[in-house]
């Protein structure tokens, strides 16, 4: 009986030891990669912004001209996000918002939405998603041109009733085998346009202290 107890304790301790070692290794890796991963993501963000608003359309330092937006339900954000603002000789040109579609097929879809001051879409890019490879991931510009069709659209063009996927009576194609993903993207883009229309002047307000 004593032996059995001893044995159980020994196995338990060993199991605990393995857990500690494994967790430590994962934690160490996380610490060592955190900065690099952040930097990679920042670089991806920069590339994303430049893909939305052509360089020659603005002349401010867009990465410095930011506005810290608190979590906003209309944009689906649950953490403060930065709005990047493009200006030409201090005249507002466009803003790039971070928008999260909460209702993707597998989790949230994070996008950058560029909107011209006039309310016209400069473009949309998906920067983070977990949609099904081969089906829903066609929202990624690297896999398909689908996302490019938003360029130049606005709230009146197409009319509000057409801001849906075709299956729901709108004008946007769904993918074969995947309707939920494009539906989520279209909905989030439309919502962000509505948000932009209501809050345009606040979004371009000048010179706030930023972090």
């Amino acid at each position: 009986m004593k032996d059995l107890q001893k044995h159980i304790v020994r196995v338990g301790l060993l199991l605990g030891l393995f857990a500690i070692v494994a967790t430590t290794l994962v934690a160490l890796t996380e610490q060592n990669t955190r900065e690099q991963i952040k930097e990679n993501q920042r670089q991806a963000l920069l590339d994303g912004i430049n893909a939305l608003i052509p360089h020659d359309e603005y002349n401010n330092a867009i990465l410095q001209d930011t506005l810290l937006l608190p979590p906003t339900q209309a944009l689906g954000t649950e953490e403060p996000t930065l709005v990047y603002r493009a200006r030409m000789d201090d005249e507002p040109i466009a803003a790039v918002l971070t928008v999260i579609a909460p209702d993707g097929y597998s989790g949230t879809i994070k996008m950058l939405v560029g909107i011209y001051y006039s309310g016209k879409l400069a473009g949309v890019r998906v920067i983070d998603h977990k949609e099904t490879p081969g089906l829903g991931d066609k929202i990624d510009v690297k896999k398909d041109d689908w996302i490019l069709q938003f360029e130049g659209l606005s709230l009146g063009n197409p009319p509000a009733s057409k801001w849906r996927v075709k299956k729901d009576g709108g004008q946007f194609d769904q993918f074969t085998g995947a309707t939920i993903t494009p539906r989520a993207v279209v909905g989030a883009v439309k919502q962000s346009l509505e948000y932009f229309r209501k809050h345009r002047d606040e979004l371009f307000a000048v010179a706030e202290e930023e972090e």
């Binding site: 196995v11 199991l15 967790t23 990669t33 991963i37 490879p133 081969g134 690297k142």
Partner: protein, 228 residues
Amino acid sequence: MNAYKQIIVDGLWKNNPGLVQLLGLCPLLAVTNTVINGLGLGLATILTLVASNGIISLLRNQIPDEARLPVFVMIIASIVTIIELSMNAWFHELYLILGIFIPLIVTNCSIIGRAEAFAARNSVGPALLDGLMMGLGFAAVLILLGAMRELIGQGTLFSQAYLMFGEGARGLTITVIEDYRGFLMALLPPGAFIGLGLLVALKNSIDIRLAKREPKASVVEVETPAAG
């Protein structure tokens, strides 16, 4: 047949994880709708299998027998997480392509299967070779199934190869059937099940034919499908 040759034949053919053990079906069926997707998951699986087999074999005398399964799970989950984080940090381009496949590997029970059936009972050399061969065998099934489904589903091969091999590989895509209307079912889960069934049948019929040709050789082994 010497031991190493046995390991190679087992991994690639006789005990192939995809066709005979039927392990790892979740990722296998989920991503094999194109050759490139299959290749991506195949590479990630090989890497994880070799690493987990090696580490578990090294630690096999330290792991308490009664608690080995939780320990295996912990080791495999840690390896996968560490690989994912490191790739994200230092091989970001590759991560953007293979990244989505890596969490899928955790759901691949052929990894814990090999840990239990092989790595925990053998020394490091054979365990590494077993990991490599099982990984290759699995990858071969992924690529083959991916090719079948891509060809039937959309009439191409190697579409989106540039995602993995860079812009220069755009020319790699072969449009086998021009103006193909597509056959959606091949790309959806039913196509995966049917395709895998056909591959298993093909393998069995080859085995039967081989057994007939060499009457002395052992009869086709009875296969016990496993869950997973």
